[in-house]
Symmetry: C2
DNA sequence: CGAAAGCCTTAACATTTGTTATCGTTTTGT
DNA sequence: ACAAAACGATAACAAATGTTAAGGCTTTCG
């Protein structure tokens, strides 16, 4: 839990007692490679903090094609945060790409935090703002960068990704086919 | 100011006195068609509430191509919210597409709200969550819909758009060229 | 260990989307 | 009211990206 506590301490002012009470409401869990943390069409009641491993967020379109929307690694929070917030069924699936250790933060813990942590609402605001900023830059890049430029950027942001993620998932994340990514790599 | 007050009342529990004090810190402004509300490479210190009119958010890439990222209309908030939050220079420009009446909410007003409104932090959280949800669905659509499907969706969400926005801006928003949008319309 | 599955590359061909240029219409600003 | 600018449609051609199929390498798992 130390990892989670450290991340929380960086975000808001929070006492050891508050941290301890919050941690009491969370628990640890291990997912094997390829296991699903959460499934499509389910209501989402958990947010995950990744201690070790890597998670991808994926999405099937109506034609049955699978899209990889996001990767999350150590020390990051991950969830279908939209479904969590709106109480609608999830559009996404979360899948472990390695054996992955997470801390599960149930909805009850997070709501307890909003109500009882001195800066609970602020924590909620910071998390939403953080995700907003991330998505805003994603959209900006989708408009202004071509696939090759997005590939280069991804390698900057996530240097080791080719060692941890199959290339066809990277292609999907970039919005192109695996065959095309293979071509782009050859050209550079 | 009534329009703004009504929207705020729908979001949080807020007294008439609080509303009045907040409104005191805001002011109204009119922008002519084509005028810029905010400019690229400037620090952002204002959020706008649109009383009447329509605003687009645009972005120039390194090659000099202009991209239309977003449209905002009556009763919506608009700003380069990322630049506002992060205190970095804006990547975007906000431009009125009609003569547009806005209420300007200066940074000082918003920070006063966080500090002094009973549910100020909650308001900030809700706004960030609202934008997050919007961007999350934008990204989902960019992955799963082709240009024609995105065009049809846009017309559902914003029924009159062809009467208020030039078609080449719609094409840019969809991520395609005006020539291609013209072709897609013909095919359907 | 060995078979099966998963994965990456490459090639040939198909489809989608972009580019450039032209024309007629509408809108704008004076 | 008029000249200029902006706008949208269309055609011909070019470039980017997708599809299908084959081959070889690596990983997985019984």
């Amino acid at each position: 839990m130390l990892q989670l506590k450290n991340v929380l301490k960086q975000m808001i002012h929070i006492s050891e007692e508050e941290l301890e009470a919050f941690a009491e409401l969370c628990y640890q869990k291990v997912f094997n490679r390829k296991a699903l943390l959460s499934q499509e069409a389910k209501f989402i009641t958990e947010v995950y903090f990744i201690k070790k491993g890597i998670i991808r967020v994926k999405l099937d379109d109506l034609g049955g094609t699978e899209h990889t929307i996001h990767f999350a690694i150590e020390n990051q929070f991950i969830a279908d945060y939209r479904a969590f917030l709106t109480q609608q069924k999830s559009a996404y699936q979360l899948q472990a790409l390695e054996d992955t250790d997470v801390i599960v933060m149930p909805k009850a813990a997070i709501e307890w935090g909003y109500a009882n942590l001195e800066q609970g609402e602020k924590l909620g605001r910071l998390i939403a703002e953080y995700y907003f900023i991330y998505l805003d830059s994603r959209i900006q890049h989708l408009y202004t960068l071509n696939p090759k430029e997005r590939y280069d950027l991804l390698n900057e942001i996530f240097p080791n990704i080719h060692n941890r993620v199959p290339q066809h998932m990277i292609a999907s994340y970039l919005g192109i086919t695996p065959v095309h990514l293979s071509r782009l790599k050859r050209q550079s």
